[in-house]
């Protein structure tokens, strides 16, 4: 009873193993991955729920959300497909490697003369001479082309067997291994790594960053400071260079300094800072023009936020209070503006709005003095992508494995040849036959070439 059960179990495991060792499954999985991946390129991924609701409506939103289509490459079912593919790859590889192990790692490769005699891919010619010396003449030609060779006697005469590229049979396993290595690297990255960002104005520093996927704050363990940020443009208006001068500080001391540009990040303690974006900051300092209504004189003065400026002609003082991205005027958004307070000599302070887009806006106030922004130095913040990915070297290793593996698998082959010499009186019949596990057409050519060369070799020595 017990033993019957265990054989049943075995066959169940066997059946599962067999179904995972099927190439049909591989094809189904590859095509499913290809087909489902399309979805995520049609639906923008990881956007705000509101945007999706607006596009798809309530019902579709619920369905898509349930299927994880808004972050589909991280959804359970997409991950399950990848996992199935990995299991499939591993099982297939083990299954096939077991079968070919003996061929690949045989110390003395076995040759079977009848197999070569039956090959379609063979060339025969007649040569003068009927002794082993023919073989001695052929051997150097063959050894130049094939790493392994040996001679043997056959029932009809002599034979040289030669082969090369036995280990190239492993190429496909290298490719399969590389896929597994890539995914392990990705997994390491997603468990032990992070992806975040931090925005810094010139002079600002931060010791924490914000994570991209959940918006949480993460402490860095050191301080990152932006010493300077510059944007350069071409004459066409296209951006030329974004350059952030960064310093890393530990306990207040600068331990590392570097200017980063796109494609050239700063790396420190496994954390990398990439130049990723930039944006406008409120200007620190502006040049204000005060126009006196009484005399028509224009006075230009520098002003900084919070510092009162005394206006000539005893017109009072003016203090910039703040910068706002969206100023409001009677319910209309008038864009970026400074808000300030004008305190005339003998009356109540008034709020003054100075929009950057409309320089003569303040004229409408019809006060004793008309204030306008004459000039300001634009200030930018730098947007840094901050990431840590300890799996990246594993992934790179996987990349190298994959390229080497694909090259070996498709462009190298295990080639075996056999040259048999059958003496007939004073002449010999020579058969050159060859086979390879891949690129049979190329092998056919090779066998013909070799036969041609051997035939010439024989006549040369005559």
């Amino acid at each position: 009873m017990n033993s019957k059960q265990s054989t049943d179990d075995l066959s169940a495991i066997d059946r599962i193993w067999k179904s995972f060792a099927s190439v049909k499954l591989t094809i189904a999985l590859l095509l499913s991955l290809a087909a489902t991946s399309i979805i995520g390129t049609l639906i923008p991924q990881n956007e705000a729920p509101g945007a999706y609701l607006q596009t798809f409506g309530e019902t579709l939103y619920q369905i898509f959300s349930l299927l994880g289509l808004f972050d589909m490459y991280h959804s359970w079912w997409f991950r399950a497909l990848i996992l199935l593919l990995v299991v499939n790859i591993i099982v297939c590889s083990i299954d096939r490697l077991q079968a070919t192990w003996k061929i690949i790692f045989a110390r003395n490769p076995r040759f079977n003369i009848t197999r070569y005699r039956q090959l379609k891919n063979k060339t025969e010619f007649n040569a003068d001479g009927a002794d082993a010396s023919l073989i001695d003449r052929y051997l150097p030609v063959i050894s130049r082309r094939f790493r392994y060779h040996r001679r043997e006697e056959t029932d009809q005469g002599f034979a040289i067997y030669a082969e090369k590229g036995r280990l190239t049979r492993l190429g496909v396993y290298v490719v399969h291994l590389s896929v597994v290595v890539l995914l392990i690297g990705g997994l390491i990255g997603s468990i032990f790594g992070f992806e975040g960002f931090v925005n810094l104005g010139p002079g600002d520093s931060a010791s924490t960053i914000r994570l991209r996927h959940n918006n949480q704050i993460l402490p860095l363990g050191f301080e990152i400071r932006c010493d300077d940020f510059k944007v350069e443009f071409y004459d066409t208006g296209a951006p030329k260079e974004f350059r952030s001068s960064l310093s890393i500080l530990k306990e207040g001391k600068v331990v590392e300094q570097k200017d980063i540009i796109v494609n050239d990040p700063l790396r420190y303690e496994g954390i990398s800072f990439f130049q990723s974006s930039y944006g406008n900051l409120p200007p620190n300092e502006v040049i204000l023009n005060f126009t006196s209504q009484a005399t028509g004189m224009i006075y230009s003065q520098k002003a900084a936020i919070g510092t009162p400026v005394v206006i000539p002609e005893d017109l009072g003082t003016f203090t910039l209070k703040q910068f706002t991205r969206q100023a409001d005027f009677r319910g209309h958004n008038i864009g970026e503006a400074f808000i300030g307070v004008l305190t005339p000599q003998n009356s109540q302070p008034v709020d003054v709005t100075l929009p950057l887009k409309f320089p003569s806006f303040d004229k409408m106030r019809k006060g004793d003095v008309f204030i306008a922004i004459a000039d300001f130095v634009p200030r930018y913040y730098t947007g840094l992508q901050v990431s840590r990915d300890p799996g990246v070297w594993v992934v790179y290793f996987g990349f190298i494995l994959m390229i080497i593996g694909i090259y070996i698998t498709f462009f190298m082959s295990h080639q075996q040849i056999c040259v048999e010499v059958t003496p007939h009186d004073l002449k010999s019949q020579v058969m050159v036959a060859g086979t390879s596990n891949k690129n049979k057409m190329g092998m056919q050519k090779k066998v013909k070439q070799l036969a041609h060369q051997l035939a010439n070799r024989a006549s040369d020595n005559k």
Binding site: K24, T41, Q45, E241, I261, F274, Q275, S276, F399, I406
Partner: protein
């Protein structure tokens, strides 16, 4: 003589070569075929000179960079690679009929680059994201892959013509095939030619009709005429093998292209893979060709099914190349300007 002028002349040279290959094939004129080869070689040489000159010109303008930085330059390089790969195949297979199906693709790529509005042929300075040593490696490997797949598309089409109708074809395939064709043609006329779906339908419908008219007429053709047309093609088995070899070559380069892109992305954006639409589509293409290779090597698929897969694969290539411009993402450099 500047590079733009040379490259516009090359468009016509490729067009002439394609025409001569087709002429030589249909009217069985070996002399025209020989001439076609020479014209193609001249085209390839001129194309090479044009690319190098453009490179030199960019340095003279003080914004020196390899000429692989926008849609125009990539199309020019695409045509160059197709012409090169085809000429190698012509030598190896010793058959010029393949030229009738591949050189026109090189011509169309060049013509599209020169004629489509929104593709600027001016040499533009590099934006910060493209200033990297990976630019050359990434673009060159990707486009060698794309060009190999374009060639495999041409050879796959030849195979299907040569083999003709499958005797045991099922009815649903009879309906599915024209529908698939229409969807693909519609998609690509929308992506490549016009800005809205209504116009795309107006273009796609007659194109499909012409195609099926041609198929219909071919079937009605007298047997000896058909034999003459298809007889000059290489043997079906050789076409199948050639298609496979070119696909292998393309697959190797597509893999290197995706990998170099990943390494570049990691040094520019801090991540090697981000499921950006272009990245995803290149992976979809990779999956399709990986399927083809597994089906052929492990399941013994040959002939028609492989030929169809290589057509679908090339559609994925085209979508990776052009279609992605309709979708949001980071790879905007290769896009049309508005």
């Amino acid at each position: 003589m500047n590079s733009s002028l040379i490259l516009s002349i090359i468009t016509f040279v490729y067009g002439l070569a394609g025409f001569l290959y087709i002429f030589a094939w249909i009217f069985k004129k070996p002399a025209a075929g020989k001439l076609a080869s020479w014209v193609a070689i001249i085209g390839l040489t001129g194309n090479t000179v044009g690319i190098i000159l453009r490179w030199v010109e960019s340095y003279r303008m003080g914004i020196g960079h390899a000429p692989f930085s926008n849609l125009y330059e990539s199309l020019v390089f695409f045509a160059w690679t197709i012409a090169l790969i085809y000429l190698v195949i012509e030598r190896k297979a010793a058959n010029r009929s393949i030229g009738a199906f591949t050189m026109p693709i090189a011509f169309l790529a060049m013509a599209y680059a020169s004629l489509k509005t929104g593709i600027s042929s001016e040499i533009q300075p590099l934006i910060p994201a493209l200033k990297s040593n990976w630019l050359i490696a990434h673009v060159v490997t990707c486009f060698i892959g794309y060009a190999a797949f374009a060639t495999s598309f041409g050879i796959g089409a030849m195979y299907l013509m040569k083999q003709g109708r499958d005797a045991e074809e099922v009815t649903w395939l009879d309906i599915a095939k024209p529908l698939t064709l229409f969807v693909f043609v519609l998609l690509f006329s929308r992506v490549l030619l016009v800005g809205n779906w209504a116009m795309a339908i107006i273009i796609a419908l007659p194109l499909c009709l012409i195609f099926y008219l041609a198929v219909f007429l071919t079937r009605r053709m007298p047997a000896d005429m058909k034999d003459r047309l298809l007889g000059v093609f290489p043997e079906a088995a050789i076409l199948d093998e050639l298609n496979y070899q070119v696909t292998l070559f393309g697959f190797l380069f597509l893999s290197i292209g995706i990998i170099s892109g990943a390494v570049w992305a990691n040094s520019a954006w801090g991540r090697y893979w981000g499921w950006d639409p272009k990245e995803t589509w290149s992976l979809i293409t990779w999956f399709i060709y990986a399927t083809l290779l597994h089906a052929r090597l492990m399941r013994g698929w040959r002939g028609r099914r492989i030929a169809y897969l290589s057509l679908v694969g090339f559609a994925a290539v085209l979508f990776t190349y052009f279609g992605v411009n309709l979708l949001p993402g980071l790879h905007s450099y290769g896009a049309f300007s508005q």
